[in-house]
């Protein structure tokens, strides 16, 4: 079966983001960009399913500016077979992304779509669930273990109280949590090979989707800064401060 894996280009998780002085967003010029970490886990899971003989082809999809091709190349170097870039300069929000993914799913016919559970830039945690709803497919969100058995799949999910196991009929949607796997590093030969793999480029209009954002960003601000407090010299002083100064115990 085919597996589709959307991959998002985001500010690298190690970068400390800065709000722009005109409060229109965060500074991305000259900032290191990488694949969203949860999407790396998604690609890794797809590659493992291919190595087990469950998957036959892995398609990596990215949406956004032309530079998203780099993110797709990373996915190809990790083991995806080909890529699709939906090129757009618009701020693409989860609803539009889910609609464009639906169009791609309808064309490509994957039986499984694996997405990251959230992107670390907008922290929306929505696209996978929305794609599942648009397709009328079942969903296994926040997955920490996935086992495909014929036409169904067992998913262990990370929930607030611990873990939950569900069985989904295929086709289905998975969103990845941190403990699903540890993504591999692409080897140099595989990075070279990835350069020869195909990336098709389409536009939102080709997919019949109007990507205009539904949420207008009015402003982006720094959160209130916490002042560093002070060091205490001993446990006794700490407990004294908590009792008599902060009065929290």
């Amino acid at each position: 079966m085919k597996i589709l894996v959307p991959v998002k280009r985001v500010v690298d998780y190690n970068v400390k983001v800065r709000v722009k002085s005109d409060n229109t967003g965060v500074e991305t010029a000259g900032v290191k960009m990488s694949m969203n970490p949860f999407d790396e886990i998604a690609i890794e899971e797809a590659v493992r399913l291919k190595e087990k003989g469950v998957a036959t082809e892995i398609i990596a999809v990215s949406m956004g500016v032309a530079a998203c091709q780099e993110t797709i190349r990373t996915a190809l170097a990790m083991g995806a077979d080909r890529g699709i870039l939906v090129e757009s300069d618009v701020d693409l929000q989860p609803l539009a992304v889910a609609k464009m993914l639906r169009a791609i799913v309808e064309k490509e016919g994957p039986k499984l779509v694996i997405l990251g559970k959230q992107a670390i830039d907008d922290d929306m945690s929505a696209t996978g669930q929305m794609l599942a709803a648009l397709l009328g497919w079942p969903q296994g969100t926040f997955a920490s273990k996935v086992t495909v058995e014929g036409d169904s799949m067992t998913v262990i999910r990370e929930v607030d109280g611990g873990l939950e196991t569900v069985v989904l009929n295929l086709p289905a949607i998975i969103t990845t949590d941190l403990r699903l796997n540890e993504p591999r590093y692409a080897s140099l030969p595989n990075i070279m090979k990835a350069r020869k793999k195909t990336i098709d480029i389409v536009k939102p209009g080709d997919l019949g989707v109007d990507p205009t954002p539904r949420l207008v960003v009015i402003k982006v601000e720094e959160p209130p800064k916490r002042q560093a407090g002070r060091k205490v010299a001993s446990v006794a002083e700490l407990v004294d401060k908590l009792r008599n100064e902060a009065k929290v115990i």
Partner: protein, 311 residues
């Protein structure tokens, strides 16, 4: 303008994050709540006593027993015509269900709001809370999850709402609940605790987390952990505090052996008082701590337990 809030509940009790979601909804207008599950009359009765709630919609059917997203989203979509805002707390359940609802309604969800400006405009954290975005929705129906730590929960008592049965809805097939393996604890839940004691990589192994027990017992605290401690297998996933784990804002947060990666700070920096105990005085956690103690935690923890005992 009426908001419908999906309530998380367990064993007839309402989850505190849902009471925070109700608090956010009361800023918008009239509030109805949805209690779905199997054999959940007690939870519906409890929801009817929440101040500010004028109606409880009770969906009591086996299909809702384990809060699978597919039937629950179908139910909320069926109820949607009566509401301007469809809301839930940003919990595993709310995050699982609400975007599914939004997609069917052709609405862009507004995840994890921290502030209500007006009926269309909300403030939400982005980039792990390192920036706050004010966003205005142009959708007819807003689908919203609420950051519980940002809204004081409504009290448990004080209201007297009517209870009405939900309409029957066609149940989507395709998913089946099998089992749950939930952490058992006598302690308060992380997202509801007045005090949280968290351990990090510095704890070195799962056994050493026992050193936190006497302190947590004495303070009535929940025990949490950094991602590093969860990834290393010291404690289960549901202990994780951070950008992709639980967001907490207790009166007192005690971080032990936690260096303070931005992803962890994202989950606890709104705590009223933060204490850090770490042997590395350069650890970034000290930049947000009200009280920092540079010490070997294996020395400091027994001392702290003894000092609290002396109370």
């Amino acid at each position: 303008m009426t908001a419908l809030v999906l309530i998380d509940h367990e064993g007839g009790l309402l989850k505190q994050p849902s009471r925070s979601a109700v608090a956010a909804a009361t800023k918008l207008g009239e509030v109805h709540v949805l209690v779905a599950g199997s054999g959940v009359q007690a939870a519906a009765d409890a929801a009817a006593r929440l101040p500010g709630v004028s109606k409880v919609i009770l969906a009591d059917a086996p299909a809702y027993a384990n809060a699978l997203a597919e039937p629950l989203a179908a139910l909320i979509v069926a109820l949607a015509p009566g509401y301007s805002h469809l809301m839930a707390a940003t919990t595993a359940n709310g995050k699982n269900v609400m975007p599914r609802v939004a997609a069917v309604l052709d609405s862009q969800p507004i995840s994890d709001i921290a502030e209500v400006i007006d009926a269309d405009t909300f403030v939400r954290p982005i980039y792990a809370g390192n920036a706050m975005a004010t966003v205005k929705s142009s959708d007819a129906k807003k689908v919203i999850t609420v950051r519980a730590a940002s809204f004081d929960p409504v009290p448990n008592e004080g209201g007297s709402a009517s209870i009405e049965a939900a309409p029957a809805v066609d149940m989507p097939a395709g998913s089946r609940w099998v089992s749950a393996e939930l952490s058992k604890s006598e302690r308060p839940e992380l997202t509801a605790a007045r005090v949280v004691v968290s351990g990090g990589r510095g704890m070195q192994n799962g056994d050493n987390f026992k050193l936190l027990d006497p302190i947590a017992d004495k303070l009535g605290a929940a025990v949490g952990a950094s991602r590093a401690a969860v990834d290393a297998g010291f404690v289960p996933n549901d202990y994780q505090v951070g950008q992709t784990g639980k967001i907490v804002a207790p009166e007192l947060y005690i971080a032990i052996g936690i260096s303070g990666a931005i992803q962890h700070l994202a989950g606890m920096k709104d705590s009223k008082v933060i204490v850090a105990i770490n042997k590395d005085e350069e650890a970034p956690i000290f930049q947000v701590a009200d009280y920092g103690l540079v010490a070997d935690l294996f020395v400091a923890l027994p001392e702290l337990a003894a000092e609290l005992e002396r109370g």
